[in-house]
């Protein structure tokens, strides 16, 4: 009974997801333009990065210049998350070893 109920909820979510994926809807409600795969609408920031990254940072790879220069705080947080994960894994498994003695 409980499984059947969960399955019904699941099928509802599935049909909603498929509806959204097949018909993405009005991306901009004022102009009524649909969002189409392959032609994103708002690209001002990315065009700025593509045209100015080589002069400002000197790197050919635009993605690297975004990761390490324009969005450096993002990368700092990411490195901190990795550091904290290693700390947590070491703490958990070390606690286990002390428990065994």
């Amino acid at each position: 009974m409980r499984n059947i109920l969960m399955l019904i909820v699941f099928l509802t979510i599935f049909s909603f997801f498929m509806y959204v994926a097949i018909n993405p809807g009005d991306f901009n409600s004022q102009t009524g333009e649909h969002f189409v795969f392959g032609s994103p609408k708002f690209t001002d920031m990315d065009n700025y990065f593509i045209h100015n990254a080589q002069n400002q940072t000197g790197a050919n790879n635009v993605v690297t210049s975004i990761v390490f220069d324009y969005r450096g705080f993002d990368t700092l947080g990411e490195a901190s998350v990795l550091f904290t994960a290693v700390l947590g894994v070491g703490l958990a498994l070390r606690l286990l070893r002390g428990d065994k003695k």
């Binding site: 997801f17 990761v67 990795l82 994960a85 947590g88 958990a92």
Partner: protein
Amino acid sequence: MIFNAPFISVMILVIFGLYAMVFRRNLIKVVIGLDIVESAVNLFMVSLGYVKNGIAPIYTNSPGGAMVLPTPQALTLTSIVIGVATSAMLLSFCILIYRYYGTLDTRKVRRLRE
């Protein structure tokens, strides 16, 4: 319809991952389901930034032409590393649970309830 194929595959992947997270009893399979959902989100972000007939945003010996948007790719790079960290933490908690309960079945891990 067919130009939405990446979005449809993203939704199918999300559904597979949610199914594994909700209906499976093994904790390792729950973690695998979480990873599948995460991969689906990464694919969604990359496909949002795709420009038709675009090339990778790298100028080294590039053939020229329109470039795909670089910012979603940078965010995906962040997301992948955070996913690795999350998977490592979850798997180490699975190891701890197996150590204390002797099983990974979520129906049997209920010593707190009794």
